[in-house]
């Protein structure tokens, strides 16, 4: 059973989606979806526990060994990211089950396919397979983005689809170049071949540069990030919340390719430009947050801000920085998703004013205001919640790197701007009312939405309390990530002692 653990997080959403397509009844689809995501939560939690022994688990699909067949590779980073996906997926699905899924067809199967693509992209050890999982994730996301209908979503959808199709074309060109020069697409095998002489260095460099550019498009690095704010703010609240993890797929892919393949042979490929552009992204996103007219668009800019902050880290190629980045990644994903879900609820309570920053009817319930306060504190990186700890760890770890001073100045200034934006916008939403306005009478918020939102908001305080165990785990994950030698041997020599299949009870 342990030997088959790596494939479970891919099989569960796949089977759930197929089962959901059997019957169009919403109650059935909801039950299957929630059950499947709960199972996914268990499976990924178990996988994370298994992976924490430091053994690289290599799952050869069809039992073809690594450079010839496709492998799934589970290390601490991959397992932890699948767990994060499952947590987010479960809560977002719970929220969407309270009515959002009725707004269009086929929400549930598409949601499972999106989870399948996300989980697969984290687990795979093969670049072409990564492309396939990216496409599964994107194809589901195209349709989910349009879920609910409306001109704004169609409009955002067209740009989003065209951009990502161009991105996919570039991805394929990069893969063709890599296969043509190095003769393999397995990440570990690429790292091995790259270190040997006898191939065209310039072409290989070009291929990796293209690959990083595609990942940067998914992650929202500045010249390629203009699509992100209006796409995310056009999507429905639960869809946008799930999208909060999609930029992170690009970041994790850059981190992994950099650590395994690039760091040993061409460590200079990411230098200079990536950190500079990431700093520009941070500044751009902070200004966007200040200018946002609606809470949902503010949330989208904050997702971009966290992506920009995370993109500062791959070029440093150090385990300490990556460990801090992974903690920041976990907390910023959950906080960003929470803000989207909260926006969905707040918008309904304010009638015509919706989530725009203008005077409207007062919010009826106290918990909404408290939740907004806690979440805003987390997002603005103020103590005592996890946003503060994440940013503190990141800045501390970046103190000694080359661009350290610039990073501190830009990130702290951006943090201040975001804090000001959140404070101003919070005042509009919570305190500013039209004279003698009464709370609107609206339908009660379903318990599913309240639970999902509160749990995601509670992640801020909770991750601050659990900062020690979580940061220890990310430290171990980062150390494993930055040991490319062990990764290459682990994947290419399945007979060696540290293979997962040897761990049978």
């Amino acid at each position: 059973m342990n030997a088959n653990a790596p494939i479970l997080p891919i099989l569960i959403p796949l089977l759930a989606a197929l089962l959901q397509m059997v019957s169009g009844r919403l109650a059935f689809q909801r039950a299957v979806g929630l059950l499947a995501t709960a199972l996914l939560l268990l499976a990924t939690g178990w996988l994370t526990l298994l992976a924490d022994d430091g053994v690289l688990r290599v799952y050869a699909l069809g039992d073809w060994p690594a450079p010839f067949g496709i492998v799934l590779v589970v290390d601490r980073l991959a397992a932890g990211m699948t767990l994060l996906t499952a947590v987010l997926g479960f809560l977002v699905l719970l929220y969407a089950s309270a009515g959002f899924d009725e707004e269009g067809l086929h929400f549930h199967p598409l949601f499972q396919f999106q989870l399948l693509g996300l989980v697969g992209a984290f687990l795979t050890g093969d670049l072409f397979n990564l492309f396939v999982f990216f496409e599964i994730m994107l194809l589901a996301s195209y349709v989910l983005l349009a879920h609910g209908g409306g001109l704004a979503r169609t409009r955002a959808g067209i740009t989003y689809v065209v951009l990502n199709l161009v991105g996919s074309a570039l991805f394929l060109i990069a893969l063709g170049l890599l296969y043509g020069t190095l003769g393999t697409l397995n990440l570990a095998d690429l790292a091995r071949v790259l270190a040997l002489p006898g191939h065209d260095q310039a072409l290989a460099r070009l291929a990796f540069a293209l690959l990083i550019a595609v990942f940067a498009l998914k992650a929202g690095l500045l010249p390629l990030s203009f699509w992100l704010p209006h796409t995310y703010s056009a999507a429905g609240a639960p869809v946008a919340a799930l999208f909060a993890i999609m930029t992170k797929v690009g970041i994790v892919a850059i981190l992994r390719v950099q650590a395994i393949a690039l760091a040993p042979v061409m460590p200079d490929l990411l230098d200079n430009w990536l950190t500079t552009l990431a700093l520009a992204t941070v500044a751009f996103a902070a200004l966007g947050a200040l200018a946002a007219p609606r809470l949902k668009s503010l949330a989208a800019w904050l997702v971009l801000l966290s992506a920009g902050t995370l993109l500062l880290t791959p070029a440093q190629a150090s385990a300490g920085v990556s460990a801090a980045a992974l903690y920041y990644l976990v907390q910023s994903t959950l906080a960003g998703a929470a803000l989207f879900l909260l926006t969905g609820i707040i918008a309904e309570q304010r009638g015509k004013a919706a989530d725009q920053f203008m005077a409207g009817p007062p919010l009826p319930s106290v918990w909404l205001k408290v939740a907004f306060l806690v979440l805003a504190t987390t997002l603005a990186a103020l103590p005592p919640f996890s946003g503060f700890i994440g940013k503190l760890m990141l800045l501390t770890s970046m103190r000694d790197v080359a661009a350290g001073t610039a990073v501190w100045v830009v990130v702290l200034t951006a943090g201040f701007v975001v804090m000001a934006a959140l404070a101003r916008d919070g005042c509009y939403l919570i305190w500013k009312h039209r004279a003698a306005a009464q709370p609107l009478v609206v339908e009660p918020i379903g318990w599913q939405r309240v639970t999902a939102t509160l749990l995601l908001v509670a992640a801020g305080p909770l991750l601050a309390v659990l900062a020690r165990p979580l940061s220890d785990y990310t430290m171990r994950a980062a150390e494993q990530l930055h040991a490319p030698g062990a990764y290459v041997t682990g994947v290419l020599r399945p007979g060696a002692a540290n293979n997962g299949r040897e761990a049978k009870p």
């Binding site: 067209i158 065209v162 074309a169 893969l175």
Partner: protein
């Protein structure tokens, strides 16, 4: 042969990029299609060009690398699905906004 193929890929890419930069959805769609043709040919060529060589390994026979062909098949299927979806989305944008601009702005 190599020259011919590379010229074809270059022309397809150039036309594709030109069309993608147009402001209306139909040329963009055509541009993406042309670009995906170019990419598929490029992927195919990454296994080197061999004439009269089946992708089967037999004793003493010449053979072509089968992997790029499998990759191209996957890429074609994915690209086809994506393009079909984009066509539907563009039609929906047309019916919702009354214009076929890529940013689907409501025409005055």
């Amino acid at each position: 042969m190599e020259v011919l193929l590379s010229i074809a890929i270059g022309v397809l890419t150039a036309c594709g990029v030109f069309l993608i930069l147009r402001a209306r959805t139909f040329p963009v769609l055509l541009g993406l299609t042309l670009l995906s043709y170019a990419v598929n040919l490029f992927l195919f060529a990454s296994g080197r060009l061999r004439i009269d060589a089946p992708p089967l390994i037999r004793a003493g026979a010449r053979y072509a690398d089968p992997l790029p062909q499998a990759l191209v098949l996957t890429a074609i299927v994915i690209g086809f699905g994506m393009t079909a979806y984009l066509a539907i989305l563009a039609l929906r944008g047309l019916s919702e906004s009354g214009a076929d601009h890529v940013d689907a702005r409501q025409e005055p």
